[in-house]
C-alpha cells in the first residue's frame, strides 16, 4: 500500500482538489465552481476525486486545506494541516519550479505576488480592500460582451490594436469599457484592452515597488487566459511560464505541506454521505457582537470560531 496526500483549495469562485503520491505525481485532480456553497462544493469535489483514485494501491494518510474557506473545509474533511493560500501557492510552485524568482497569482477575488530567492519566499503582497483586476472582473465583462470567460483568451490574441481602457478601478474600467463599446471599437480589441487593464492594474497595485525578476510563473484561474498571459509578457518583457496545472497549484501546495508536516490521519471518503451545516450565532456578551460560526456534522457540533475573546468560546 502506497501513501497519498490530499490537498484541497477552496476559493471564493472555484474549488480545487488534488491527490499526490510521495513523488509529487498527480493521482487525481478536480476543479469545480464553489458557487457560494463551500460545503457542497467540497462534497462534490471529493466524489470526483474518489472516481479517479486508485483505492487498491493507495491510501490517503494526510490532508491539507487552503483558500479562503480553509478553516471550514479543514474541519469537515478532518485536515491534518490548514494553511493560508499564500504559503500554499509558494510551496507548490517552488516544488515544481525550484528556480522561480517571481510568482504572479490572480484568482477569483484576490491577487498576490510572491518574490522568491534561493527557493524561499522573501517578500509578498496581496490585494487589500479592492478586488479590481481579478477573475471576477474578467468574468463579469465577458458576460457583458456575451461570451464565455474561457473564450476571452482567443479573442484577445486575435486583436491587432487593443483598446485603451482605464485600469485604475473596476468601476471606472467598466464605464470606460461601455463607452468604448458604444463608440464602435471591435470586440477583439475591447477584450484585449480588458486583458491589458487587468495586467496594468495588477502591476500598479500588488506589484507596485516589487522587483519582478525572471523566471516568472503565473498561476491562479486567470492564468488560463491566454490574453492576460500575453499582456503580462509584453508588460514585463520576459517569458511568463504557465503550468498546465497552474490552477491547481494551491491545492498541490496544501498536499505537499500535508506530506511534510507531522500530522497523519487517514482520509475517509464517507464525508460525501454526511450532512454538514453551519449556523451563525451572534455573541451577546459585549457590544462587539462577534459572529460565531458553529459547524455541525450529522446534527452534532464539531467546531466553532469567530469569537474575539473567551466569553464567546463555544466548544464541541
Amino acid at each position: 500500500m502506497n501513501q497519498a496526500y490530499l490537498g484541497i483549495d477552496v476559493g471564493s469562485i472555484s474549488t480545487k482538489g488534488v491527490i499526490l503520491d510521495d513523488g509529487n505525481r498527480l493521482l487525481a485532480s478536480a476543479y469545480i465552481w464553489t458557487e457560494g456553497d463551500p460545503i457542497g462544493a467540497v462534497k462534490k469535489l471529493v466524489s470526483l476525486l474518489e472516481k479517479q483514485f486508485d483505492k487498491e494501491n493507495y491510501r490517503i494518510v494526510a490532508t491539507g486545506t487552503t483558500g479562503s474557506a480553509r478553516k471550514l473545509v479543514g474541519t469537515i474533511v478532518g485536515a491534518t494541516i490548514v494553511k493560508n493560500e499564500i504559503t500554499a501557492h509558494a510551496v507548490g510552485t517552488i516544488t515544481f519550479y525550484p528556480g522561480v524568482r517571481t510568482i504572479l497569482e490572480i484568482g477569483g477575488q484576490d491577487s498576490k505576488i510572491i518574490l522568491v530567492e534561493n527557493g524561499v519566499a522573501v517578500d509578498y503582497a496581496m490585494n487589500t480592500l479592492c478586488a479590481a483586476g481579478t477573475g471576477a472582473f474578467l468574468s463579469s465583462q465577458a458576460k457583458r460582451l456575451g461570451i464565455e470567460v474561457e473564450e476571452i483568451g482567443g479573442y484577445a490574441l486575435r486583436s491587432k490594436h487593443p483598446t485603451q481602457i482605464a485600469a485604475r478601478c473596476t468601476v471606472f474600467a467598466e464605464s470606460d469599457l461601455v463607452h468604448k463599446i458604444q463608440m464602435g471599437h471591435p470586440r477583439e480589441d475591447i477584450i484585449a484592452g480588458v486583458c491589458n487593464a487587468v495586467v496594468a492594474n495588477y502591476l500598479n497595485n500588488v506589484g507596485k515597488g516589487k522587483n519582478i525578476l525572471s523566471p516568472v510563473v503565473f498561476q491562479g484561474g486567470v492564468s488560463k487566459n491566454a490574453g492576460v498571459v500575453a499582456a503580462f509578457e509584453k508588460a514585463l518583457g520576459c517569458k511568463v511560464t504557465v503550468d498546465p496545472n497552474g490552477h491547481l497549484m494551491g491545492a498541490m501546495g496544501a498536499a505537499i505541506l500535508a506530506r511534510r508536516s507531522a500530522g497523519r490521519k487517514e482520509f475517509d471518503f464517507a464525508i460525501e454521505e454526511m450532512t454538514f451545516y453551519t449556523r451563525e450565532v451572534s455573541c451577546g456578551r459585549c457590544p462587539n457582537q462577534c459572529e460565531i460560526i458553529c459547524v455541525y456534522c450529522e446534527n452534532k457540533l464539531i467546531d466553532a470560531w469567530g469569537n474575539r475573546c473567551e466569553r464567546g468560546a463555544i466548544t464541541a
Binding site: K83, N84, T87, V120, A121, V122, D123, L129
Partner: protein, 360 residues
Amino acid sequence: MQAMQPKKKVAFPRYAEYNCAVRYLVEQGLEATCVLQPALTRHTEEIGAKYSPDFVCTPFKTVLGSLIEALEAGADTLVMTHGLCRLGYYGELLEQILRDLGYSFEMVNLSQYSTGRKKDWLKAAQRINPKIKLPRAAAALLETFKMVDYLDEITARYYQNCGFDATGGEYARAYRQFLTALYRVRSRAEIENAYHEARQAFQRIPLDKPAHPLRVGIVGEFYTAMDAFSNLGTEQKLADMGVEVHRWMNVSHRFLHYSGEKNLNVRIKDLCTYEMGPTSTANIWCARDYAARGFDGLIHIKSANCTPEIDIMPVLQRIGSEYKVPTLCLTFDSQTSDVGLMTRLEAFYDMISQRRRKTF
C-alpha cells in the same frame, strides 16, 4: 458663601490605553470628573461610521463613535486633540456633526490652543476648570507624563515577550492587572506601585524564549498602529505565533522624548528631502533602524485614506529591498475582516521563519 460650581464631566476619545492618563490628569490635576466611556467595540465603529463622511480615515469614525458613547455616558465637556495632519481639523468637524445630531456639550478643541505658546494651553485647561490650581495641575501633569512613560515601557515589554510565556497566560494576566491598576491610580505613589508590580511580575514569570527569536518591527500611523482594537490586535496575533514584536511609535517616544523633527530628519536625509507628515519622518527612521539591526520583518500599519502614511510606503519598499527585509503593508478600514488579516500574518510568519531556517 460662594456657590459651588458643579464639576465638569470631561471625556476624551478612547485611544489605545492612554485614557488612564487622561483620567489622571483631569481628575487629579484639573479637579474635574473624567467620564470613561466603554472600550472601543464594533458598536462604536458602527455608530461612528454611520455619521462620518465615507472617505474620512478610520480613526475619525472610531473617535466620533467613542465621543457619542461618552455623551451617552453623561459627559458634558468633550476634549479633542490637535494634530499635524487632517487630524488638526477633526475637532471642528466632530463638533459640528455632534451638534447636528442634537447633543449639547462644551467642546474644548485643542487645535485652537496649539499655538506654540504655553499660556494658551493654560487657557484650554481653564475651560475645564476656571479655578485651576497651577501648582497642583503642574505636578499632576508631570505625574501623567510619568504614567505614559511607564505605560509605554510596560506595553513594549509585554509585546516583546508575551509570545514566549511558559505559563500559558500569566504574562497576559500581569499586563491586564497593570492596566487595571493604571485606570484606578490617584497618586504618584500608586503609579509607581503599579509600575513596579508589573516589572516584578514580568521578571518573575518564566519565559520560554530562544536566544535569537524572530523579531518584527511595527511602524505606522499614530492611531491605528497603536490601538489594538483598530488594528484587530495585530501585535497580539503576531506575538502569539512566537514573535518578538517591537513598536517604537508611542506617545512617550513621539512627544515626551522626541528628538525633534529636524534632528530626526537629518538622519534620513538620503531617503527623503522634506518632512512629510506627523509621523512619517519617525517611521522612516525607525523602519531603517529596525532593518539595520537585523530584524526579520517590518509591518506597516495604516488606516485607509491616510495620506502621510501612503506617502512613506515607497520609502519603506526601498528600505525593504536594500536591507532585504520582508515588508508587509496593512491597511485597516471599518470593514476589514479578521480572516483576511490572519491570512496575511500567517503567510508573513511562514515566510520569515522559512528564511531564517535557510540563512542560518
